[in-house]
């Protein structure tokens, strides 16, 4: 695996067995990467290697394979620490993914906030990012304020300044919008929040596959991502939390692993990070998460970013050649996501016909109804790209789209 010198797209594509599939007789083209990424052999193999050779429960066993499994699991945590430049490995909690992480934080803040407090969430959020806070504020009476978005699908930072005040205790924004691909100015958002002593949680699910984030430099209080968005398996993710916050938050779930001493009268909770990792964790998932990070770092995030940027530009220019096609979310700073509609044609019809051409896109609201409401539309077609996609595939999309439109008009 030597990619550092040059970006070898053919070699990369050969790492992903699924890309060899045929759908309806056509070469399979996968443009639904924002929903989940495909997996390279090295990640798939790491899971079967674990179950074939050292499957075991961790942190307790004195026997050889339990120690091997424990080492591999903790080694994955160390890889995450290095990748995100996190100060302490115990500030990393393995969760089942971003949704789990957000619920963990929301649950923790439930008792810390009262009806005098406010939280701020961005208008660019995924459903999973709205509901946990609504559930939390129903219980503690805190108020939710929203940062509105502008016509380009960017956060209105003036409005943020206006709603941020000493009552604000928590600010919650995604690093990149799943529906539009907008990269949010989280560094500024965090700096401003810290001036009023509010904590900030960043959802990095749509960012981590596309660029590297230095969490010490960013200074976020919490940051979360899901492995399956970055070539890892489903059901595993990570939550970073600054030590002072993780110590303050109560445990989320009770069970094994998260305790140090239990009597019927009282339980003492384990130290970080185990306090938040109740029960037998997803060992194979964590290991494969680490392998996925190795894989991406081997290719190099600079290479990935450059390649994806040129792919995004190519796709945007190509799609704009199609009459009556409107792109939603044209922020200057965005990842390779293109959300669009064609005048007079429903997104579902486009998606259904593209599927017939072997092209997987997402249609609908992308779990982001508030954003769709903002644009006054019921949904979009979303093409989300990855470093294993090619310009040739974009050409197939372009031609298929033209045929689909002519069938539908």
């Amino acid at each position: 695996m030597i990619y550092k010198m040059s970006f070898d797209i053919n070699k990369i594509r050969s790492d992903f067995p699924i890309l060899k599939r045929k759908i309806n007789g056509s070469n399979f083209i996968y443009f639904d990467n924002a929903a989940t990424s495909q997996k390279p052999n090295i990640v798939i193999d790491s899971i079967s290697d674990y179950y074939k050779n050292y499957n075991s429960n961790i942190h307790r066993g004195v026997h050889t394979i339990s120690q091997e499994a424990t080492d591999a699991y903790e080694n994955a945590r160390a890889k995450i620490q290095k990748h995100f430049n996190i100060r302490n490995s115990h500030e990393i909690i393995f969760t089942s993914g971003t949704t789990h992480s957000i619920n963990l934080v929301a649950n923790g803040f439930q008792d810390l906030l009262s009806d005098k407090d406010e939280i701020i969430i961005s208008g660019l959020e995924h459903h999973s990012n709205i509901v946990p806070w609504q559930m939390m504020t129903e219980k503690n009476g805190a108020k939710i304020k929203i940062i509105p978005i502008n016509e380009n699908g960017e956060l209105n930072m003036k409005a943020y300044d206006n709603i941020l005040n000493s009552k604000t205790k928590l600010v919650f924004v995604n690093h990149v919008s799943n529906a539009l691909g907008t990269v949010n100015p989280i560094k500024t958002i965090i700096e401003k929040a810290h001036k009023v002593n509010a904590a900030v949680l960043i959802d990095g699910a749509q960012a981590s596959a596309h660029f590297k984030t230095d969490l010490q430099e960013l200074d976020a209080d919490f940051y979360t991502t899901s492995a399956h968005k970055l070539c890892g398996p489903t059901g595993i993710g990570m939550l970073f939390g600054k030590e002072k916050w993780l110590k303050k938050l109560p445990p989320y779930q009770g069970g094994g692993e998260m305790i140090s001493d239990v009597t019927f009268e009282k339980t003492t909770y384990a130290e970080l990070p185990h306090k938040f990792e109740a029960g037998t964790p997803n060992v194979s998932g964590a290991i494969a998460f680490g392998i996925a990070l190795d894989y991406l770092n081997e290719i190099g995030f600079k290479n990935i970013y450059n390649y994806e940027s040129s792919l995004l530009q190519y796709t945007t220019e190509k799609l704009k050649l199609i009459p009556n096609l409107k792109i939603y979310g044209e922020s200057k700073d965005k990842t390779c996501v293109i959300s669009f509609n064609i005048d007079g044609i429903h997104a579902y019809d486009i998606g259904a016909l593209l599927d017939k051409f072997g092209i997987a896109v997402r249609t609908g609201q992308h779990c982001a109804q508030p954003i769709m409401d903002h644009f006054g539309i019921s949904g979009t077609v979303r093409v989300s790209l990855s470093f294993y996609n090619t310009k040739k595939e974009i050409d197939v999309l372009y031609n298929s789209l033209k045929q689909a439109i002519s069938m539908l008009s």
Partner: protein
């Protein structure tokens, strides 16, 4: 015509198509011929749940037969709805209740009926049956 006969007729028609494009062109064409729901019946209560595109279904009893009308924002959904209505509309409630929609598999549109596919056609078939059940007990 009886439900089974219409279903066989549709299977026959679809067997003539050589590729998916011909088939979908026909579905789109059918979408434009659907018995359209009256605008006044395009209410939230007549919306079929689980659709990416809005899909309305309405039914009334005329001379002992159930008459269905529908509409959708998406033309493919509308076309497949038309294939359902051609079979089930203008039949007795009893006959509708005693029939199934397996012919959709036979014409290769099963993917649109998978419960996980968010186009609401599974819900639409259920709703067609509910209407028939309601009119049957009257």
């Amino acid at each position: 015509m009886k439900i089974k006969e219409i279903q066989d007729e549709i299977i026959e028609e679809f067997s003539l198509f050589e590729d998916w494009k011909q088939k979908y062109e026909y579905i789109i064409e059918l979408g434009n011929t659907i018995e359209l729901i009256d605008e006044k019946n395009k209410t939230d209560s007549n919306l079929i749940k689980g659709c990416q595109s809005k899909l309305w279904l309405y039914a009334e009893l005329k001379n002992g037969k159930v008459i269905y009308t529908a509409d959708s924002e998406a033309i493919i959904t509308k076309g497949i709805s038309a294939i359902l209505l051609r079979v089930f509309s203008n039949q007795t409630a009893k006959d509708i209740l005693n029939s199934d929609a397996k012919y959709i598999d036979a014409i290769g549109l099963k993917e649109h009926l998978s419960p996980t596919r968010a186009n609401g056609l599974v819900s639409m078939i259920k709703q067609i049956k509910y209407y028939a059940l309601a009119f049957n007990t009257n």
